[in-house]
Symmetry: C2
Subunit: 379 residues, 2 copies
């Protein structure tokens, strides 16, 4: 528990970065993809399997966990690592994004967000201080400042007011963190500003002045489209210090991730591999595959014979198709596994490509397997 | 594939029997409990895990599989073993029970049962010949004759007519089996006759005259209650040859199984361990536990620290409770695993007790952990 947080940049290839984050719970190899364990479980997966897929760190959701089972309860049970049997590092979000997308009767004030639980209608208040309290009780190794994720589209005025509120909340989060958190925990600031370069710059400058050990890039992948996301990302990463990790929140497709790494991003999280898996969509090294489609009904071939994942090599497409058509648990279990493995494999190959100086080549390969339109026309 | 079917009786303790069935797919240690893989998957479990729990054989359902994915398709894909990645022996039922409980617009005639699929309303006919065809195509190592599972209650006349129909279907099943099945497959006859000793006797005598390699006892655990089930069982098993295995279909609770073994039954199947597991009910060596109950919300203790199953020892009751309250996949995954392990452990301990001649002692232990009323008042 002596190592709080240290980021080592090990290699560069263009703007893409290879690095590692040392924490008290172990090392996170970057670029890193964090499987999402919303309510203390990466859906339809055993924690050991998540680890075996190559994940160094997972993400937990503050909003969900504070409501159920409750942060005090988790703390009494030994913290989130112990509770869910995940011994490695855990990152928690601030709850700011989900309180706006899931809770009812939300009201934002300078103080924070008051809301009603989507589970039982109970009244709660999330503030920077409360968010840090929850994250500290959960025992997160990497915490997020409380922020408002500016909706898209927003006018310049709206985006400015929202970004400025997040900045004030950043300072309060940092103060609360200094008072509450343990030596094994670290806090990231979150850059906001929607798609406006001047606002991103003000946000970044002010956060950098607060000297966080890492910086998240928020308010993207919220409907602006990939092109605008990458454009904003391209002007934002250079505003952030080289020697701190950069985390693009809630992203994304394999292509999104590769393009973002190309722009200097180090960390990612997304529900896509597990959510897609639960719905019969698989990621493979030949592209996306929709196992619900009738074309697979008689296909004895495995999902992806080039994969190192048993779920992708040991079962036929016909069987996977059958499981999804029949609504059986094993379908989501196998595809969540295969997709989580694919995403970790993608990150591992990306790290190797950066280390060996042929990241551009690797990116081209991903662009050919996962062209932008692939999301709209799954096989 | 040389070994078709051989039953070796290895020891007796009272009426309880220890044995083994040799098949082309491996040995089945008896008394055996067969996890149910209704539609080619033991629900919420990886096949490797089912095996690791100690299961030698699983059961597949003819009715479900003929409708989806279809017996011809499974055959073309290499048979059920290959399709679902279960290399060990598989037993299939005849479809007779489920066509009556699940299908729509059923009509029974001498020929068989015509019905509409519960999935898509398509019209089908199940006859002794069709049932054997399906089971042969699936590649089942142990097949069941097509029968009518006499409903309970039934009058003596109704039970007699039903039992006699099943006898005629037994002969037709045997004839079809002789024409269609492979050398690695075996066919069981099914004793019917409801709760009437004279009808059970007629059924058994006629089936024994047909010389099946094994005998199932059907028409029990259909609402008659445990006492009447055991009474009927007690008079039925002595009507069957000593040197053939006896399979009590669709049974049951741990207590049911122990009592039935005490009466000379060798094989069982039941959805209880996996179905209960999906609903938060766990079987442990201290009795049944309902993980949905609030009493577990803050309990750091594992489900059953005496178990050899990781699902029962490595996660807290508080966590399991949380998973079920949150409707997460991992809850059913863990409890299906823990329960399947418990049932296999129960069988293993029972076999050991018979081998060592203290089965009565072991039965008493189970009666104290799982008293008859335990089913009605889960903790």
């Amino acid at each position: 528990m002596t190592q709080r947080f240290q980021f080592n940049l090990k290699a560069r290839d263009g703007r893409a970065r290879l690095g590692e984050i040392l924490t008290s719970r172990g090392t996170i190899r970057t670029p890193a993809f964090m499987p999402v364990g919303t309510v203390a479980t990466v859906k339809a997966m055993f924690p050991d399997t998540v680890r075996e897929c190559g994940a160094d760190i997972i993400l937990g959701n503050t909003y969900h966990l504070m409501l159920r089972p409750g942060d005090e309860r988790v703390q009494k049970l030994g913290g989130l690592h112990e509770f869910m049997r995940w011994p490695g590092p855990i990152l928690t979000d601030s709850g700011g994004f989900q309180v706006m997308s899931l809770a009812q009767l939300r009201k934002i004030t300078e103080e924070g967000v008051s809301f009603q639980s989507h589970i039982d209608g109970s009244r709660h208040m999330l503030t920077p201080e409360r968010s840090i309290e929850v994250q500290t009780r959960l025992g997160a190794n990497i915490q997020m400042q409380f922020d408002e994720c500016t909706p898209f589209p927003a006018t310049h005025d709206e985006a400015k007011a929202s970004m400025e509120l997040s900045l004030r909340w950043a300072e309060r989060s940092q103060k609360a963190f200094a008072e509450m958190a343990g030596a094994h925990q670290a806090l990231f600031g979150i850059v906001q500003g929607s798609i406006f370069p001047d606002l991103r710059e003000i946000s970044a400058q002010n956060l950098v002045a607060l000297d966080f050990p890492g910086y998240s890039i928020g308010g993207l992948a919220v409907g602006e489209g990939q092109e605008m996301m990458l454009e904003t990302l391209g002007i934002t990463t250079p505003m952030l210090p080289e020697n701190k990790p950069r985390y693009l929140m809630g992203v994304g497709t394999p292509l999104d991730i590769v393009e973002a790494v190309a722009l200097g991003v180090d960390m990612f999280d997304c529900v896509m591999p597990t959510r897609s898996g639960r719905h019969g969509q698989a990621f493979t090294w030949s592209g996306k595959v929709n196992l619900r489609n009738a074309v697979h009904a008689d296909d004895p071939a495995p999902l992806d014979e080039t994969s190192g994942c048993p779920a992708a090599t040991q079962y036929s497409r016909a069987y996977l198709h059958h499981l999804f058509r029949s609504g059986e648990f094993l379908g989501p279990m196998l595809l969540s596994w295969a997709n989580t493995y694919f995403y970790q494999d993608l990150m591992a190959r990306m790290r190797e490509a950066i280390a060996e100086g042929h990241f551009a080549e690797f990116s081209d390969k991903i662009r050919s397997i996962y062209p932008p339109q692939a999301e709209k026309t799954p096989s």
